[in-house]
Every structure is written in C-alpha cells, then in structure tokens.
C-alpha cells in the first residue's frame, strides 16, 4: 500500500468485503440473488475491460464465449446427464476452445476491424445456438441445470460466487499491474511504437484475448448455474453490448468500474424495472449523463479528480 490512495482503496475494499460476506444476513433472498447476478456480470464486464480498457481492443462478441461455456455445462448436465466435474470441465473447454479460435482470427487486427470481427464471432455463436437444436435446444434453450448439493441453496451459491469472483478479480488486478499488463496498455496507446521496441503485438493480442476469454468462460459457467438455464439470447449481441456498456458506465480501464457498472445495470434491470417499465430509457439517460459529464466513467472520473487533488498537494506517489 502506497500513500493516501492505498489507504483509501484498502478501506473501501475491507468495507465492501465485510458487507459482501455478511449480505445473506442483511437482506432477503431476492436481493442476494440480484447481487449474485451483478457479481457474475461484473466479472464478465471485467473480462471485457481487460481487452477494451487496457488493450484498446473493444470487443463486441464476448457473450459468445461465455455462452459457449454455459452451453458446455448445460449440455453435459441436461443432455448427457454427466456429473458436475465433467459439466464444469466441458464448460471450461468449450469457452477456451472458442476463445482460441477467435483469438487466432483477431490477432492481426485492431481498431474498428477488431470490433467488426468480434461482433461477427459473437453472432456466429448466437446463430449456432439457434441452429444446433440437438445440442442447444434452439429457442427453448436448456432448462434444468442443477447445482451440486452443497451449492443448492441461494446463499450457499452466493458465497461461492463471491469467492470465485474475488479470486478472479485478484488475478485480474495482478495481471493489469504485471509487465504484460503494462505492455498491454502500450498496445492501446501505440501499436507501432510497441513493434519497433520488439513486442510481437500479434502474439500479445492472442494472449490477451485468451486471458480475457478465460474470465468470460468462468462468468459463463457461474451464470448458467445461477439461472439453471441457458438460451440463445445469452450469446446475442445485446448481451455483449451490455457488458461494454457496464464497462463504459463504471470506467474503462479501471477493472473495479465495470463491476460497479454491472451493479447499476442489474439494479435498473431487475429492481427498478418492477416499478418503472421504461427502465431502458432510464439506463439510456444515465449513459448519456455519464458520457457527457464523466467521460472516464464513474470510477475513472473519481480517481482522476482524486489524483489531481493529491498532485496539487504534492502527495502523489509513484504507481510502482
């Protein structure tokens, strides 16, 4: 921990951890379910942030990867009747294989081309999920994905998701601060400079995409066990775009921002929508306000002001 910023971060982390762990004692089943969902879509958005916020590679197909993992689990559970270990194993494999195939396709692209390719990739998975009726159940999806005994109760699963998301967040936190993570930011800033410094940027993109795909895969597995159901809409562009939206809302390139963005979107979508049917309008307005008045997103804007305040007082310390 370094300087005042370190202490503020530590304080916020401890406070949110305390609330997070105690949550099932504080609120009802409905809200715990909402928070579980927000944690999972938050992890999903963080996987997008790794590519978009750090690498400057805005992906519009991430839901395809998560959905592939979800389908892997659901198929093994519903159609093959396999055990939970096999379900998770096939889910992981499905997500990682799809990631690898996609990664090879994007490794020589950037900018708008990268966006267009990932958009197409996501739609391919969506198309397959509708067409491959025997595997995916087409529009009906695959219902009845049961959780293992020890996770069957809502609060058990909540704590499990909390632990997994925390571990994944810690991993992401280390990755973006690693030598690789810093070079990934270099990719966002100037690929031509990285190349003449000696970085194989195609390889770098491949690796970043795989790491991001891994976390999207984990999110997909967690989600299918939460909903106990998967259908083609999980792979749709809407799902990918929602993840990008959460990321922008909370703050691109901040990791914690996308998680907060996810809580906001899930809250609007599942709680506010009960009293206010036009919640998408509300979300659109919120999005416009953030883009106009906090261009770095909520967390990005706050931390930038904080940094400027510290700098004015001569309290800024090196990041590393």
């Amino acid at each position: 921990m370094k300087g005042p910023t370190g202490w503020v971060k530590l304080g916020l982390l401890v406070a949110s951890l305390a609330v997070g762990v105690a949550l099932p004692y504080l609120v009802d089943q409905f809200l715990v379910g909402i928070v579980t969902l927000a944690l999972i879509t938050g992890l999903f958005a963080m996987s997008i942030d790794l590519l978009a916020g750090y690498g400057g590679l805005v992906t519009l197909g991430q839901a395809g990867i998560s959905a592939a993992a979800s389908y892997g689990v659901a198929y093994m559970s519903v159609k093959a009747g396999a055990g939970h270990l096999a379900q998770v194993g096939v889910g992981l494999l499905a997500g990682l294989i799809v990631s690898a195939v996609f990664a090879v396709m994007i490794m020589r692209s950037s900018g708008v081309y990268f966006m267009m390719i990932t958009l197409a990739q996501g739609m391919i998975i969506w198309g397959l999920s509708i067409r491959l009726t025997r595997i995916t159940g087409a529009e009906n999806g695959l219902p009845g994905v049961d959780r293992p005994e020890f996770l069957s109760l809502y609060w058990q699963y909540y704590w499990f998701v909390l632990a997994v998301v925390l571990i994944c967040s810690a991993m992401l936190y280390v990755i973006v601060r690693s030598p690789f993570g810093l070079a990934l930011e270099g990719l966002r800033e100037s690929e031509s400079r990285l190349l003449v410094l000696g970085y194989n940027t195609s390889l770098q993109k491949f690796y970043a995409f795989m790491v991001s795909g891994f976390f999207a895969t984990v999110a997909g597995i967690l989600l299918v066990y939460l909903n106990q159901f998967i259908s083609p809409s999980s792979a749709h562009l809407t799902a990918s775009a929602l993840g990008v939206l959460q990321t922008i809302l909370g703050g691109v390139g901040t990791l914690v921002g996308p998680m907060i963005g996810s809580f906001i979107v899930v809250y609007l979508r599942n709680v506010v929508s009960q009293d206010f049917e036009r919640w998408p309008t509300l979300m659109g307005l919120l999005f416009i306000v953030v883009v106009l008045f906090a261009r770095r997103g909520l967390v990005g804007e706050l931390s930038e002001r904080w940094r400027a305040w510290l700098t004015r007082r001569g309290l800024a310390v090196p990041l590393r």
């Binding site: 990755i175 690789f180 810093l182 190349l195 003449v196 194989n200 090196p318």
Partner: protein
C-alpha cells in the same frame, strides 16, 4: 552465430527500392554502416528518408533490394524481430504512450528485450537493472524530474527528448533517429544536438536531419537523397562541397 570476431558491419542496405502505387519513395539506395559509425541521411522533404528508415525497421518491406542487420538478411523479417536483434528507432512525428507516465513509458521500452515482458502473474516492480536503465535514460535526456508526469502532460520539447529516451531504454546497438529536433526552437535544438553528440561511442547511429548544418556536424558519413534517388555519399566535408547537393538545397530554399 558469428564467432569471436566482432561483426563490424552492423547494417547493410543493398539497392533498396520502395514503391507506393505509382510513387517511388526510395529508388535504389545502398549504404553500409560499420559498428560505432555515425551516419546522416539528408535531403529535402519527401526525399524518402523516413520511408528508408521504415524499410530498415521492417515497418514496410522493400519492393526490391535487401536489408542486412548484423550480417543477417532481415529483408522479410517483421519489425519486432529486428528490434529484438538490437535495432532501435525514434519517430519524426512523436510516437509515445501518451496516457502513461514517463516512467511507465520507459519501463515498457526497458523490458521489451527481456523475458520479463511476458510475466503476467506478478506485479511489475521497477527495481534493479530495470530501474537503472530507466534512470540512465532519464538522466541522459534530463527528464528525471518528470518521471511521474504522463507523457501527454509534457511539453513538445520534452516529448522529443522522450523519443530519444525510449530508444535508449531499449538498449539498441544500432539507432535510427528520424529528425530528433523536429519542431524545436533554436535553444532546444542545441540541447538535442549535444545529447546526440554525447551518446555512447559504441552505439551505431543513422540520423535523419532536414537541417544540413546540424547533421554534418554530428556524423562521419553522409548520404544525400533527392526524390528517392541517392545523389551523393561521403564525408561531411565532401558533401558540403558537392555541387549536386548544393543544387538540391538551393532549389529547396
């Protein structure tokens, strides 16, 4: 692997031609740089100097001709492989990582040729050799006080210094400097001039400079391009007296 003997010819450009559609940007250029030598490539705007650099670095592949680096044919090798061999360059139009700090910029450059750049499971710590490289690059260009500023916050002059610092932190054996003093005031230009003069003598340098007076004072050999064509090659004194070169520069004025 070349034996105990020193590779004395570090860069060899052989009859390189580069065409972009109908435009011939570089038309049959050849030269050889020996270890520790300092070359200048001069010529009016649009002469093909930057394109020649891009060909040497691997950012564009030549339409014809060959490029050899440290005795190896690298004509079709990608830019990053050539950088790994020890070729560095700076850019005429500042090309840095604007939203990262000075220190982070240099860390990316300094780790670029070590295995450390692949590490993703431990935080980056600027310590030991990495810190020394960054420090020495910073002090050479006089930016030690600015290490926590983002590059976007630097003045144009400071950014031009950073261009050179980035290349130095990368520890190349051959350095291509593309108009390092571009857009600087007279005072700033003399700082850059001195900086280049004081670079380590074992570093081989090719300098592009639009301003003939500055260029000729810094190097031992000069290549003059006009419209993509090599029109003269020689020592600075020979170049000063060369009537073809005078023609080109008078025409340009």
């Amino acid at each position: 692997m070349i034996g105990a003997g020193v590779v004395d010819r570090v860069l060899h450009v052989e009859n390189v031609k580069v065409r972009f559609g109908g435009v011939t940007a570089v038309n049959g250029v050849s030269f050889e740089v020996e270890e520790g030598a300092r070359w200048a490539v001069i010529g009016p705007n649009g002469a093909g100097k930057t394109t020649l650099f891009r060909t040497i670095c691997g950012e564009v592949y030549p339409t014809d001709g060959r490029v050899h680096l440290f005795g190896r044919d690298v004509t079709r090798k990608p830019a990053h492989s050539r950088a790994q061999m020890g070729l560095g360059r700076t850019f005429q139009v500042t090309n840095l990582f604007p939203n990262l700090t000075v220190e982070e910029n240099l860390a990316i450059a300094a780790q670029a040729r070590s295995k450390r750049r692949f590490v993703s499971w431990a935080p980056l710590r600027i310590r030991g050799e990495l810190a020394e490289r960054i420090e020495s690059a910073l002090s050479r260009v006089g930016l030690s006080e600015r290490r926590l500023a983002t590059v976007a916050e630097l003045s144009h002059g400071e950014q031009r210094q950073m261009e050179i610092a980035m290349a130095l932190a990368n520890a190349p054996r051959v350095l291509l400097l593309d108009e390092p003093a571009a857009g600087l005031s007279a005072a700033e230009r003399s700082v850059v001039r001195q900086l280049i003069e004081e670079l380590p003598r074992d570093l081989s340098i090719v300098l592009i400079e639009h301003d003939m007076d500055i260029a000729l004072e810094l190097v031992d050999r000069v290549l003059v391009l006009d419209n993509g064509n090599p029109i003269a090659e020689g020592t600075p004194d020979e170049i000063r007296l060369d009537p073809k070169v005078q023609d080109v520069y008078l025409r340009d004025e």
